[in-house]
Amino acid sequence: MEQIALTINDRQLSASSGMTILEVAKENSIDIPALCYRQELSPIGACRICVVEVERSETLVGSCHTPIAQGMVIHTHSKKVLQVRKTMVELLLASHCGNCFMCDKANICELRSIATDLEVGLPRFQVKKRYYPVEDASPFIVRDLTKCILCRRCVSACNEIKKEKVFGIAYRGFDSKVVVDFDQPIDKDVCRDCDVCISFCPTGALSKHGEIGEEKKGEPLIISG
């Protein structure tokens, strides 16, 4: 496979063509935070947390879905990148329900973890929050869409790993929502003995029945800044 020479954070690197910026960074122990990206799933660039600066590119690019090119000069932690990344997390938190201390996943929540790392502090933006009823009709899964950040990992995980198509995305803009069939509460037989989507959910939106308390044992994540 063709080797490509590129520069990340002033380091001269070489990698195989077809790799994404995020993959090359990872291989070279450069940590780029990402929420919607998971190695096992196709990258979709939904969360924009993994953005990096590529010289001569007009905008910041999502590193999880941008393939490397010959001579690329990339900055993963420049001032501009950090500012944008922080704002993205802030926006996610602003429309997130925010009841972390009531949430069983509080200390292992990836959103909260990234917010902690980036020291985003309290969101500056006052926006409408999305509240939905908790869905517990299924004996295999509890879904609390109030905590959903629309990263679409559950959709991809179900499609690509379980090879089922339980979830889809419906509506538009702020009304966007992960739906099951005609926007019905989740209660499917294919979910029996499967917790793939639950294991991929970065927040507390998807969980099993009766596991309350287990996740509270993680180190408390305090968002400073």
Binding site: S42, S156, F167, Y171
Partner: protein
């Protein structure tokens, strides 16, 4: 890593026809019923949630029965600056319903829509597939009468 160039979700040939097929069904029945969406999902080998997702994303598709005439007033900024609010209020008064509703006699459905591409002639609206431009409250009653 080949996922970038390789197998991308929802790319088989039949699934690309979804929009066209939804459009045909919308024209034929006036809305997309659950029955139609289930049939489409089966014939295109897609999940119901994906078909429902596309159907609810586009504002020119509706998943509920609509009135015989569908009024769409532009809610984008250029129309807003040319007082589309007055036009919206006039239509509300004339037909007695708010955006998102259908008159009890089934004559009109009324929606607000994003830009319909005639900003130079704002404020604008559409009734069914006809575009009406440079609207004033006086024009509204005449236009609506033609559809009664």
């Amino acid at each position: 890593m080949n996922k970038i160039n390789g197998e991308i979700y929802m790319q088989n040939k039949e699934q690309k026809e979804l929009l066209v097929r939804l459009g045909e069904a919308q024209n034929k029945f006036g809305y997309l019923s659950e029955k139609v969406m289930i049939e489409l999902a089966e014939s295109l080998d897609m999940s119901i949630s994906d078909v429902y997702g596309v159907a609810t994303f586009y504002s020119f598709f509706s998943i509920r029965p609509q009135g015989r005439n569908i009024i769409r007033i532009c809610k984008s900024v250029p129309c807003f600056l040319k007082n589309s609010q007055v036009i919206i209020e006039t239509v509300e008064k004339e037909i007695g319903i708010k955006p998102g509703e259908t008159t009890p006699n089934g004559k009109f459905s009324f929606h607000l829509t994003n830009c319909i591409g005639v900003c130079d002639k704002a404020p604008a609206m559409m009734i069914n597939s006809e575009v009406y431009i440079d609207l004033t409250p006086n024009k509204i009653s005449q236009i609506l009468k033609a559809h009664k």
